[in-house]
């Protein structure tokens, strides 16, 4: 992954920072994302059939009909939400262990994208739930409720990151919070599961669906496209954090020079400044 994201900053002189967040990898991934999106739209909206099958009464049809097309976004977004936030927790853990800024930036980038994808997951889920479950929100479903808590947890993580602080202190606090999220989520999942002890959609959506070849293909395509998209903006976000750090450290160089100049000024007027400070002590 370090090949994609760029070498750790320690390995290169400061001037070697990229001038922008693009790289050959992002250009390839970007084109792949665009092409994939066009393909996904064609498959999801035109080629794949709506979900419908014969109902119990003769002549009737049941199923999710056109709402099933939301799955091609919802399901991949959910998978990559969990991957992104898992990556954030993992990078946070490695940061605590190995202490490299590289891991801190990776955690930050993946958390931001993870929260974004989590919002997409929740929104598409609610839009899908309205026609299918006849409600925007279903408290009885473990995944829905757990995902909301997950969203709130990592929104808190981003809130913590947004507070101005010394970079190392912020990295350390954020890393602990990132790991804390990974500690929390299994407990939330288990407790919500016991709480209602029934799940509406984990089996229902996939097993009841009449999985045709094209439906399955579209679903897999959605996951792949979303994955490429995730990787694409992850690299951009990571390199942006890198640039931000470069700007910060360039600022530090300037601040250091300024600070030393301050000492020079005083030295120039040396004895005078010293003398006023010590006026009281002069015998």
């Amino acid at each position: 992954m370090s090949i994609l994201l760029g070498r750790p900053p320690g390995d290169r002189p400061p001037s070697a920072a990229p001038g922008h967040t693009g790289s050959r990898a992002t250009r390839i991934l970007g084109v792949a994302t665009l092409v994939g999106l066009v393909g996904l739209c064609l498959c999801a909206f035109i080629f794949s059939p709506p979900d419908s099958r014969p109902g119990p009464e003769p002549g009737s049809r049941i199923g999710q009909f056109d709402a099933v097309r939301l799955m091609y976004v919802h399901f991949p977004a959910a998978i990559w939400t969990y991957s992104a936030l898992g990556l954030c927790a993992l990078a946070s853990g490695v940061y605590l262990w190995r202490r490299g800024v590289w891991w801190d930036r990776l955690a930050h980038a993946s958390a931001e994208i993870g929260v974004l994808l989590c919002a997409v997951t929740l929104l598409t889920g609610m839009i899908w739930g309205r026609p299918i479950w006849n409600t925007w929100w279903e408290w009885g479903d473990v995944r829905v409720v757990t995902t909301l808590v997950l969203f709130l947890t990592y929104a808190g993580y981003l809130a913590l990151r947004s507070v101005p602080a010394a970079p190392e202190a912020r990295a350390r606090r954020s890393a602990i919070l990132g790991v804390g999220g990974a500690v929390l989520i299994p407990i939330v999942n288990r407790s919500v599961e016991w709480w209602e002890n029934r799940t509406l959609h984990q089996q229902s959506t996939l097993e009841e669906l009449r999985i045709e070849d094209l439906t399955l293909f579209t679903l897999v395509l959605g996951i792949a496209v979303m994955g490429v998209f995730f990787l694409w903006i992850l690299i951009h976000r990571f390199r942006l954090a890198w640039l931000e750090a470069e700007v910060e450290s360039a600022g530090l160089e300037a601040a250091l020079a300024e600070r030393r100049a301050e000492a020079g000024e005083v030295a120039a007027t040396g004895a005078g400044a010293g003398g006023t400070g010590e006026g009281g002590s002069a015998p």
């Binding site: 605590l96 808590v149 709130l152 947890t153 929104a155 808190g156 809130a159 913590l160 507070v163 602080a165 190392e168 202190a169 912020r170 350390r172 606090r173 890393a175 602990i176 919070l177 790991v179 804390g180 500690v183 929390l184 407990i187 939330v188 288990r190 407790s191 919500v192 016991w194 709480w195």
Partner: protein, 222 residues
């Protein structure tokens, strides 16, 4: 262990002297219960049915204040630095502060419990279950509150940041404690002791996580 008790005793002694818990946090807790009563239109049967959940919502909101107070004590006058400069391991400081916070929460819960019985007409059917699950929940809340309190502490935005970070963490406690109390108060037909197990697990996980993470957090503050 000696150091754990020293830190805990110190926190409790500060509380006894400043009386913040008694004069500020406790009235807040009771006022919360009263407002929740208004929210449910003071319907006696509804209040009794929902009393476990309302009780724990009040406890968790109160715990936010108590956790803030626990951190503020160390940050006024930078006493946290003095703790860092002592040879005490951060895990012991964490344990001591969590213990003191748990003791304070236990007192508040006792008060809220009485208020719940009086105001909501709740009846405790299984006293043992109620006490055991409250104890497990309290340890979990205290451990999480101590950890996340110091996480949000050194910033100028502690008052607003801590609730954002801590309330999602409290979600499983609220679910578990409400269910366990539902059984203990006879308002829900569930197995309360299973929920007690979940609360115990939460307490264990956060006690261990907190003890491990407290050191790096104190370092980050320095």
């Amino acid at each position: 262990m000696r150091e754990v008790l020293l830190v805990a005793a110190k926190d409790l002694r500060i509380e006894l002297r400043s009386r913040v818990l008694l004069f500020q946090v406790a009235p807040f807790a009771v006022a919360t219960l009263v407002l929740l009563g208004f929210a449910l239109d003071a319907d006696r049967s509804a209040l009794r049915n929902f009393s476990p959940g309302l009780f724990w919502v009040a406890v968790l909101l109160t715990a936010l204040l108590a956790a803030q107070r626990s951190v503020a004590v160390e940050h006024a006058g930078r006493a946290a630095d003095a703790l860092l400069l002592s040879a005490t391991s951060p895990a012991r400081i964490f344990a001591g502060k969590a213990l003191a916070l748990a003791a304070q929460l236990a007192v508040l819960e006792a008060l809220l419990g009485v208020a719940m019985v009086v105001l909501y007409d709740a009846r405790v059917e299984h006293f043992g279950l109620a006490v055991a699950s409250a104890a497990a929940a309290t340890v979990g809340i205290a451990a999480a509150g101590t950890l996340y309190g110091v996480l949000a502490a050194p910033m100028g935005v502690r008052e607003t940041l801590l609730p954002v970070l801590l309330l999602p963490v409290f979600a499983p406690v609220l679910i578990g404690a409400t269910r366990a109390f539902g059984d203990a108060l006879g308002t829900a037909a569930v197995n309360g002791w299973a929920w007690f197990g979940l609360l115990g697990l939460f307490a264990l996980v956060y006690a261990v996580f907190g003890a491990l993470a407290y050191g790096p957090l104190l370092e980050a503050e320095a």
